[in-house]
Symmetry: C2
Subunit: 252 residues, 2 copies
């Protein structure tokens, strides 16, 4: 059964897209058919895997026809990695806001029933509160929260957890916390050490063991439209996302 993981944070620039792209690619590398679903009107995940922006927002097509996944799921040039491209710079939150729980369940069921079946679907969210990230949480089985090792991002963590509770309270299907992922960790900076220690102290069980180091290879790879594994396989960024992929596959 397809496991749907939302990568979400209201705080901007914490590494949501970088995590979604490289985790989805890592899962496909390990032989699991994976869909990267770009729910952000910025369409960064779409360009991060060399995809082309869609002419209609995926949510709009799905709201008209729950079975539209076969129209919007496109193979990428990476084996086992599929992409649902986003439409650039088009605010479709009003459409997302109108989807009721029955409709959302239909969307989820038709993704699970898609042929070929996806083992994983990784949802990249825009930086926001509001209808689009909420829809992603409602579709998801679990949520991964990247937290940049800086002060504002840490503050943002306390804003994210109530949204998860809200979705949990409104349904019977569980919504697990896949984990809190520390990102852009630079051990030479006192601030990064302090923030990572504080996040681990407050959320000892939820914070994933591996932190993603600050590594320019991650930023460079996005400008080539390719996951960091293909751009610079020996980089620390590659290694760290490979670890994250293994943790996810091992149930953590």
């Amino acid at each position: 059964m397809t496991q749907i993981v939302a990568v979400a944070s209201q705080k901007g620039g914490v590494g949501k897209t970088t995590t979604a792209v490289n985790l989805a690619y890592g899962l496909s590398l390990a032989g699991h058919r994976t869909a990267l679903v770009d729910l952000d009107p910025q369409a960064n995940a779409t360009s991060g895997v060399g995809g082309t922006a869609a002419s209609r927002a995926p949510i709009e097509l799905l709201s008209e026809n729950a079975d539209a996944w076969s129209q919007i799921l496109q193979p990428t040039r990476f084996e086992g990695l599929w992409l649902v491209a986003s439409r650039v710079n088009h605010d479709y939150s009003p459409v997302a806001a109108q989807l009721d729980p029955v409709r959302i369940a239909e969307l989820r069921d038709s993704l699970l029933g898609h042929n070929p079946a996806m083992d994983y679907a990784i949802l990249d969210c825009p930086p926001a509160a509001g209808p689009i990230p909420l829809l992603a949480l409602q579709l998801a089985d679990s949520v991964l929260i990247p937290v940049q090792c800086e002060y504002y991002a840490m503050e943002g963590l306390s804003q994210m957890l109530p949204s998860i509770e809200k979705v949990r309270a409104a349904r019977t299907r569980p919504l697990n916390l896949q984990g809190i992922l520390l990102t852009m960790f630079d051990p030479a900076l006192e601030l990064a050490l302090e923030v990572s220690q504080e996040v681990r102290a407050y959320f000892p069980n939820e914070t994933l063991p591996g932190a993603v180091p600050r590594d320019v290879a991650l930023a460079e790879s996005s400008s080539y439209g390719t996951p960091v594994f293909e751009y610079d396989p020996r980089s620390r960024g590659s290694w760290s996302y490979l670890q994250l992929t293994k943790d996810l596959l091992n149930g953590r």
Copy 2:
């Protein structure tokens, strides 16, 4: 007359709040009475100057009473710097979406008529397309666009400019481009050099001469709720925002 500057970008984490906080403080340091208006539900600008989050979103109060500025404009502990605090984690975009141009003009007029008069109002925007950044552009006289020296942020620039055109087309009052501000510039990184060269080549007249260097003092100061000038006056971050303030005061 109060000059209203919106600091806006759909891309997350590019330095909007850091720019809004330090520019507003720089202007107050130069003797200009300045209002920092936090329009982001994350309320980072509010905590960036040691303020306390509001119990009601400023937009909600203003939509009920255009003269509510005197209720929401609070002095900070920094001389000449006032704050309109944000309400944390509360999606008030539906309220922003309902404000029509007549009402927006009333909000603007009552800010301009506020006693004591503000010389500047700096609006910090959330990372998003949609009603809140749009409202900020409609209130503003000019807009400052921070662009982190990385690929996704550069892509985001092409999404920001159509929103400015949209607002310009809908009114007679000009909306100037205050400038494109390159941020987190690290001259040791090839990527930063490439992106900054590309942005300057595409937008030679719009890109401000000074780029803000990557400087951890900027990130550290936010965790102390104080502008970088007070936290580490000799840092490169301080110097760079002082330059930006001078550029703004000199009409560029």
